[in-house]
Symmetry: C2
Subunit: 287 residues, 2 copies
């Protein structure tokens, strides 16, 4: 599948292997001084596992590359190793290999994970169609208070949503709904309408400080790592089936014809600006 999805899909001996990679940098994706090596390594695995979950894949394993700053004490090396091992166990995604180097910059953790999907194949971003409902798997916003490190990737949910055929398009929310939903829409060639009063706001979005409202935080903080799902309207029976398998969906909007994302708030519909965090925007200087 083309570049732009959360993961790539490769046919291997007649079966699909889903592969993904994410690179985390100290000072950008975590602050080593405050979170420590164990949490940093855990996050490096977790964000990759979340990418697998977004395709409905179950993780099989990962490899981890590390660039240590010069003069790194052995205890950091050791903490990273423990963090990788723990995350591998917690997420059933063992670190099967790696590479360690020393460089002149900050700590860099690079993980590539692979997984497999059921017979329906992977769920892509491109399957959303007008009339679909848009849902998320949990509450959004304020992840900076800690959830961006401690979140649990929605692997079980992603797998159920893929296996049952419920998810027609799916991605994980890494940059915030306001930034990520337009990507899903572009991949599917559709537009979307959100309803402000349905967006599930996390209590951390109310606690976090700064100039943003809780709703703005829920839309644009990012690093929620919940799944965004486009699906047909669910029957009561299917909703019960999903609930029994641990999947709760919060409907937040609908897929519409055309392009662009709007949000309905207090009865008024306006264009939703992408205020999510975009790691690339500064590098490319355009978009």
């Amino acid at each position: 599948v083309g570049v732009g999805d959360d993961a790539a899909v490769v046919r291997h001996d007649g079966r699909d292997v889903v592969v993904t990679t994410d690179v985390l940098v100290d000072g950008v994706h975590f602050v080593l001084r405050t979170c420590g090596g164990v949490a940093a390594a855990r996050k490096a695995v977790a964000v990759n596992v979340s990418d697998l979950a977004a395709t409905g894949a179950r993780p099989r394993g990962c490899v981890a590359g590390v660039v240590l700053p010069q003069g790194t004490p052995f205890r950091l090396f050791d903490a990273l190793a423990r963090g990788f091992a723990r995350a591998g166990r917690d997420f059933a995604c063992p670190v099967v290999g790696g590479d360690t180097n020393v460089g002149p910059g900050p700590l860099v953790l690079s993980v590539a994970a692979f997984g497999d999907v059921g017979p329906r194949g992977p769920v892509l971003r491109s399957g959303a169609r007008p009339g679909h409902v848009l849902s998320v798997t949990g509450r959004l916003g304020g992840s900076i208070l800690g959830r961006h490190l401690s979140f649990r990737p929605r692997v079980a949910e992603g797998f159920v949503l893929g296996e049952t055929g419920v998810a027609r398009a799916m991605m994980d929310l890494s940059d915030g709904l306001a930034a990520d939903l337009p990507r899903l829409c572009r991949a599917s060639g559709v537009g979307a309408r959100l309803f402000a009063d349905r967006v599930p706001v996390h209590r951390d979005a109310r606690r976090a400080r700064g100039g943003k409202s809780p709703l703005e935080r829920a839309l644009s903080d990012g690093e929620d790592f919940e799944l965004l799902v486009a699906h047909r309207r669910l029957s009561k029976a299917m909703r019960r089936t999903l609930a029994r398998r641990g999947v709760v969906l919060h409907d937040v909007g609908e897929v519409v014809e055309g392009a662009g994302v709007t949000i309905v708030e207090d009865g008024r519909e306006r264009v939703l600006r992408s205020r999510g965090y975009d790691h690339l925007r500064r590098a490319r200087g355009r978009r």
Copy 2:
């Protein structure tokens, strides 16, 4: 297979998938200012493909993670993309996905590649036995003059050596024969004896400047990315078969009982010190 081999082997739907990762840092593994983004990206893919070759695997694809320095011009981003695409084509190892970030340090290129092996399974480092011959697939030393960027991974050779069952243990020479051979020996629980007059010295090892002799360069410069192979003594027929399939082996020594590596030079046998480049030595501060 355990940590320490060039690649990990994961059973996927009953078939072996070989997975490897290598992280390259500007100023350590390449000098971006002089080599440019295309060559840097090519090397990042090539070193991973070489790790696959060392197990006898054929590459199937890779994912690439990039950490761009702050303020990176778009033309570097573009050069990296072209380098990744070109390497993917040249080595039949397409870049199927990736992740791009911006960080405060130097350029970091992280690639994870995967491949498959024939029915005999992967060749590991641990299969060397006393009596085996030790060979390399090409001339060594002086790679700093350019080969460390332009080398062609020994994929075809590795696959033939694996498929024919010739290779009982194999690895690629990234840190130099003097550093890498002891690793193969430790993995196999054996010792080894090299013969100085048989080590194939590359002409670049004679041209490169510095205090080392050509033989020292051949033993310790590193980044040769030739394969080191332990195998039974070859019959003339097998040697012809290999030659017909493009595999030329230079015998450099033999596997012996015990531990440690010695080198025979001018009729005298001495312990070979590991003067190869070890990226980890400085980080760990021990070994």
